[in-house]
Subunit: 327 residues, 4 copies
């Protein structure tokens, strides 16, 4: 492995009503709208210098078109293309100019069936981190991670670590020490991607990083006063796993968004991955709250990188679907 994947960089979501999405993401949550047209809404966080980290496309049905990673250079794209081709993966090149504000991009359907994209170049725009007069809602800072439901977490875990050079920060062990979920990173945070045992492949959520915890409380208040109380699915709470202070939201199309603050530095090669037992009551919510069933069952469909059709999902390998209820 000679390519350098830097970090998770954008999610492309299909949504059915761009105006409804704008109201939710821009007016309520405070995403910055870099640009838009009749078919697209390009959104970014306040500290981001890339053109967008969330691309919403008008479509008939909600779905996930791609999860994009930024790589270091064009050469990395070539190496990735060769790597996946040699492994027998179907690849698809999106040449420069095909996607607005993004350079040449490589798409693959990964071993779990997830539509993954790699690109090196994105249009540079103004960082608004010190334009506090523009801060609204949740004060969204930057994209942080993807969380995906897959049928075989252990296989995904092995592939991303051994073949793609990710490192594991934390994981959840089920019976017989099977890996039930894993948090993997390229950048020096807890994760760029997490895999959870579940009906898959599906995108469980995209996480966005906030700079301080009160932004989550304020986001709840703003959402509620705008009539989005029903969009708050879970939290606020503290994850045992990752130590993040979190809030889960469902957008107007049901796509799940995590607002995320906390985390820690994962720069060191001698960092030992943290093991959590799936039934540890402090794992999912450090404070002991159970997540609602919908949080475990519902997720976004993902699309075929070539046909654009919905990828069929299958049942997960490990039987346990969620932590045992704690009484």
């Amino acid at each position: 492995m000679n390519f350098n994947i830097i970090r998770c960089a954008r999610t492309i979501l299909h949504v059915t009503d761009l105006e409804a999405s704008r109201k939710f993401y821009v007016d309520a949550l405070g995403f910055i709208e870099t640009e838009s047209d009749a078919e697209h809404l390009y959104l970014r966080g306040l500290e981001e210098h890339g053109h967008h980290s969330l691309l919403l496309k008008k479509a008939d049905k909600p779905a996930v078109e791609a999860l994009s990673y930024k790589v270091s250079s064009e050469a990395d794209l070539e190496m990735l293309s060769e790597f996946f081709t040699n492994k027998g993966y179907k690849i698809r090149w999106m040449e420069e100019g095909v996607q607005h504000a993004i350079g040449r991009a490589l798409r693959i359907q990964d071993l779990s069936g997830l539509p993954i994209e790699f690109f090196a170049k994105i249009e540079i725009v103004e960082r608004l981190i010190q334009r506090y007069d523009l801060y609204k809602g949740a004060h969204i800072q930057r994209i942080d991670h993807f969380n995906c439901m897959v049928q075989d977490v252990e296989a995904a875990y092995q592939f991303y670590i051994q073949e793609l050079g990710f490192a594991c920060s934390e994981y959840t062990a089920a019976a017989d020490e099977k890996i039930w979920a894993a948090w993997l990173h390229r950048k020096q945070s807890v994760h760029d991607v997490a895999f959870m045992n579940g009906e898959g492949p599906r995108l469980h959520h995209t996480g966005f990083w906030l700079s301080e915890p009160m932004a989550i409380i304020h986001a709840c208040d703003v959402l509620a006063s705008m009539g989005y109380g029903g969009s708050i699915e879970r939290g606020p709470g503290r994850h045992g796993l990752s130590n993040a202070f979190f809030l889960y939201l469902r957008d107007p199309d049901g796509h799940r968004i995590e607002l995320y603050n906390g985390d820690y530095l994962t720069s060191d090669p001698d960092f030992k991955p943290v093991r959590w037992d799936i039934n540890d009551p402090r794992r999912q919510t450090f404070w002991g709250h159970a997540a609602p069933d919908c949080w475990f069952n519902e997720a976004s469909a993902v699309l075929d990188i070539v046909t654009g059709e919905k990828i069929a999902t299958g049942m997960p390998k490990l039987e346990q679907r969620k932590p045992e209820t704690i009484i």
Copy 2:
């Protein structure tokens, strides 16, 4: 009505294990232990200049011995005694010296059956508001209110307003505009006492005021790291009613405590009480979360001011026991 009731001032709880209570209230939540002996634990908040606002007494069974209001002077006690005697209430004087650190006190069983106490004098101790080196856990500042389940909220509401001089800040209306719950105050905050329609008389919770919202988040973290995750019953969240940022805890005996921040000033006679429909999804939790059933069903038994026996409870007048589940 010529007497001057100032504010809610202390709760006397019977607990079964003082050491377990100390660990919860002092070590975890950060109450200040003013004094203690083999039978009593006297606790106060950081800004309080009174000897205690929470008195825990060792007993065989958890129960509520009294809910105490501070009045302006000894003369107020005399007037209250005359008032309740004239109304045909049984009264009980606790002469000075009978209760540690408290002057002469008058106890009555109120119209709902709640054990109420009035006193004018309490031993003055050092305010620790600027001893930030002693702040721990939830940074408890002061007692804020009692919340009681009673059979006939409307009767309690009328009596406390017309006879005792309380004012209403907010209330919940059920079918036919019947008052399902009411928030009443003497001091200039949202409440000193709230009454909710339910099996009563019982004490639902005692509320303690915190100076800022992050203290609630930190309290959750501290409680969880000390193994008290199971004590967190509801929250953190924002009440629509009162606008408070809240957390509900159950102490080792099951007594409920609310950590409370937010509120607003209720000094003005032209303040119009805020009406909430019982089924308004933003009433109980502004952010839309439903409270768990135990929060509606469980509460602390209260004792007879003379015999010390548990007061028998009865079913509430209004049929609706909790808001309709929102789906």
Copy 3:
């Protein structure tokens, strides 16, 4: 004294440029603009149900027209009129209709020369406390207090306590236990008005209450990003006296505003006023920072209630003008 003064309720400031004021108070600090016309800007905080608590009037020179207290009823106004007349004070009635949104008002020039107004009635408007989507800048909640520089603090202190029924929460003692400054309240907070020894009569600042400390940090950031860095005169910091977390700003006309959070409950008659030595380094800023000289020297001119002319100022009675510099 039979009248009931409830609380400080509004400041009337003369400003030279209403547009500049709107940009500062509404756009940057987040005051709610209830109403405006070519000559007036009526502003209130998010929890206020009164029409305004800050009235800005277009004028040639910056000045303070009046500091207004809300009283309980029209009868209180009559009693106050009689009281001041009997004491030999000049009074001025502003009949209903003369001032927009305010009922009949009584103005007097108090013993220190300050232009004081009393009113019972103000137009009731919507409280926006739960319209979090409208929160901006400093999230201004409500007016809290006036702080005035006067020549003879001890005389003002005695008059406001003995004649007007204020209570003292904290005070600063100079040499020979002379009162150098005093914090006096009617509502149950640390103060409605403070008097400081200085060239007077002048208004030092009007304090506005915020609901939580991070609102002050966010206000600094917003002000700086809008080019108002030069308006931040002092802080953020913690006052030893009052325990408030504070920020002092100068508006475009030089009027001083305090953003204020913290405080404590002052409901109890047995509360013993807190004494601070003027040279205690923790008095002015608990953390030890010295205030800049301009904070001690500069303040707003006040006007004659009848002629509208600037009241001439005089040197204060106590020689010490500010705390000794701590080295």
Copy 4:
């Protein structure tokens, strides 16, 4: 350059009174004391899995013995040794066992005269990030950066970037676009080391990262209540440069510590360094406050890696010693 420097990892300070240091760092600021003996105090932050990030050694005079970087492996140490030897630098090996809890280490005196250390191995200890019951004072999370005063910033900047592989996140330009100060990083934060134009070589401060801004406010309060008000040198405030929310403290020996929260992700090769003009009033403090002169003039002496003698300092290359005072 083939070696992999991971991040700044520890500061070794000489202090004159270990008890005074413990009271300041452990009791007041909340550093975790991993271990200690009569001559050493080993301290770490709450999220750190390394044995210590701050080593205090008893000595006659305050000084800086070393600034340590963690490298990826032992091989990196060998490559660094060869690199510096080839460049004509004096090196010193500290063999495993010589320094408690640290593996083999390489020390060099860098081009500016700073005593730099590299090590790959440090004893792994328990991460206490979720032991919220142990959080005290400033809730110190981890070491973040060194800030050094050097005579020739531009030379240091070039060497660290071109020879050691650091990247520049932000810099300050003086007259003729000369680099007056530079923020350089290996880990994906704003900096591991900053160089400022000044009398050098000296250590200006070591920065420690906190997880949220209220921890800085609480730290001020705790410090003040323990009598450390005089230790607060500057802040709290927001840096324009780096966007950090900061507080500067002086320890009992005068060593400067920065409490630091904010920052942003610097993972991307296409990140363009942010340029600040030295006289931009928002550079040093976004909110416009000037730093006190002592902040520009005072810093800690550094020692010779071989003799342990104080390195003589010299005047800086650029004339301007601090930003022009803003009036």
